[in-house]
């Protein structure tokens, strides 16, 4: 069978694909198991939630720790503000995700599947619920739905487990990682919904899928979700989104935990996780955010830092106080102009905060800020007082 694409099939505007269409197009659900895990390891499918951990290795670890009582969490929380790809996939191709989750459950010997979906993703919730109703009674018994609060940290794997277990979507202390000790203490596979959809195709063809869902956002003519071939240039993806709507200044690759890259350097980068990793970059959650030259990067960064600070779950002191202090210093520079002391504090506090949270929220925020200060070094060093009230 030739390679398949996630978004192939009926018109996306028609909404959720029905089960008969799905099965008619792709055939019945293949069998999961040990050989599927090895296939995933061979095809090097990387997680699409942001961390990019290799799915095959994670499945192997969960299967090893499972003892028949593992849990699969299909993560569709998608709390990243600019990302839209997971909800598009859930809204239009729900059966791919259910297939992937069922294959995962069979492969890691899970007794339960939880669909963890952002509570404000209404069409995704409708679509997934409708798709579930079309499935067999046996499959329905295995699967249940949990709504993720619309907060940034709710997408963290330990937060998803905490919600399922205790009803509170805050991250918990790791280690042990959720793949060893998750829902109800059982080994838990928390896997992004796009990753699971890829599995549904890989299991059918035996070959890697070689596509990526990206969300193109910011100063482009037609912002939205695209399924692009792995390895195409960032510039080509931006062109597919209608091209820049005004002269671009820089690209934010991978959402708010991502990296800033000058537009001139960014356009030629390949959308390919291993190739990006070799350059010290990451596709993250695959948001391509285009910052126009007309916009002040320092003010933009300050706004995002304020957002990330407000999204700290206030469980770990260094994250809560550190991100606030960093956001305040950025805001001072943005509003009152560059101050040497503030620049020094940004450096010092970034180093102090790094690696000192239970989850990766402070690390993600600090790496975002450090990349901004590197890419927009001159802007930070010579920022005039904008006298602009915070947005």
């Amino acid at each position: 069978m030739s390679r398949l694409r996630l978004l192939a099939g009926p018109d996306l505007a028609a909404g959720a694909e029905r089960l008969h269409s799905h099965v008619g197009r792709l055939g019945p659900l293949p069998k999961g198991g040990h050989s599927l895990i090895e296939l995933l390891v061979r095809t090097e499918l990387a997680g699409r939630g942001g961390a990019g951990f290799l799915a095959g290795l994670k499945w192997r670890a969960v299967a090893h720790a499972s003892r028949g009582s593992a849990v699969v969490v299909a993560n569709g929380a998608e709390g990243e503000p600019h990302s839209k790809k997971d909800r598009l996939l859930m809204s239009t191709r729900p059966h791919l995700i259910l297939d992937g989750a069922l294959l995962a459950a069979a492969s890691v010997h899970a007794k339960e599947i939880v669909l963890y979906i952002g509570e404000e993703h209404h069409s995704a919730l409708r679509s997934m619920t409708g798709a579930l109703a079309e499935r067999t009674a046996g499959e329905r018994r295995l699967i249940r739905l949990a709504r993720a609060p619309a907060r940034y940290v709710a997408g963290d794997s330990s937060a998803s487990v905490h919600l399922v277990d205790a009803g509170i979507a805050t991250p918990t202390t790791t280690p042990p990682p959720t793949r060893e000790r998750g829902v109800g203490g059982a080994a838990t596979l928390v896997q992004n919904v796009e990753t699971l959809a890829h599995v549904a195709l890989i299991a059918r063809t035996g070959a890697a899928t070689n596509t990526v869902l990206v969300t193109v956002a910011g100063a482009v003519r037609a912002p939205g979700v695209l399924e692009v071939d792995t390895g195409i240039a960032v510039g080509d993806a931006v062109q597919l989104a209608g091209g820049p709507s005004e002269p671009p200044r820089a690209l934010l690759l991978g959402g708010y935990f991502g990296r800033w890259i000058e537009a001139a350097d960014a356009w030629s980068l390949p959308i390919d996780p291993p190739a990006l990793r070799a350059r010290g970059l990451s596709l993250g959650c695959a948001v391509l955010g285009v910052l126009p030259a007309s916009q002040c990067p320092v003010c933009e960064v300050a706004g995002i830092m304020r957002y990330l600070a407000s999204e700290s779950s206030a469980q770990c002191g260094p994250c809560f106080f550190g991100l606030r202090a960093l956001a305040d210093a950025c805001t001072r520079i943005a509003e009152r102009g560059t101050d040497a002391g503030d620049l020094q504090r940004l450096q010092r506090w970034s180093a102090e905060v790094q690696g000192r949270g239970a989850c990766k929220h402070p690390d993600g925020a600090v790496m975002f800020l450090q990349s901004a200060m590197k890419t927009f070094g001159d802007d930070f060093a010579h920022h005039p007082a904008h006298l602009r009230r915070s947005a």
Binding site: R151, I168, A169, T170, A314, Q315, G317, F320
Partner: protein, 195 residues
């Protein structure tokens, strides 16, 4: 051994235990309040709290042992272990047994805090607020001369110190700088069904 010596040792040790226990309670509250100064680091409060607590147990043991082996009272070991089982001042003595057992639970759980975990330890440690007043009542009830000036003065000092510390703690609220932000965030992401 002289019986009266035992009797007065029991009383002396009892009074000392009450003073020590009150100091321990006050120190515990001060440590929650994060009291410190240049020459008084926080670990000093905690260290003193622990050392005096262990000392309290020693003097409490002296108090109990001398009371039990005193042939004049005929208390017997059962009264030291089973509350309200003594023929002599059943109620007031029973309070002492209750206070002793609560205190023992608090100290033992503190010694094995690492094994039982913070939340279990904390739960048991709240019993301090039960143990101390029971001990004070026991002092009032059993002290033959509870209303004589010296013991009364001692008890008054203990009660005032503990009450002041506890009152201050109640007024001061949580000293965890994250408490307010954390609970408001949690309230926002709480999806428990009972709500």
């Amino acid at each position: 051994m002289d019986n009266t010596l035992l009797w007065y040792t029991t009383r002396g040790a009892g009074a000392v235990t009450l003073v020590l226990l009150s100091a321990v309670v006050v120190l515990g509250i001060l440590s929650v309040l994060r009291v410190q100064s240049a020459g008084w680091p926080r670990f000093l409060t905690v260290g003193l709290h622990r050392n005096l607590a262990l000392m309290t147990i020693v003097f409490l043991a002296l108090h109990i042992v001398t009371a039990v082996i005193d042939p004049f009272t005929h208390l017997g070991w059962l009264a030291a272990v089973v509350p309200f089982s003594s023929y002599y001042r059943t109620f007031w003595l029973g309070l002492g047994t209750v206070a002793f057992e609560l205190l023992l639970a608090i100290v033992v759980t503190s010694l094995v805090r690492g094994f039982i975990g913070q939340s279990a330890w904390r739960l048991v440690h709240w019993l301090s607020y039960a143990s101390w007043p029971v001990a004070v009542l026991h002092g009032f009830g059993t002290g033959t001369d509870a209303w004589s000036a010296w013991l009364f003065g001692l008890q008054a000092v203990c009660i005032v110190s503990v009450a002041a510390a506890a009152g201050y703690r109640l007024m001061a609220g949580s000293r965890d700088p994250l408490a307010a932000a954390r609970s408001s965030f949690q309230a926002g992401v709480d999806r428990r069904e009972s709500k």
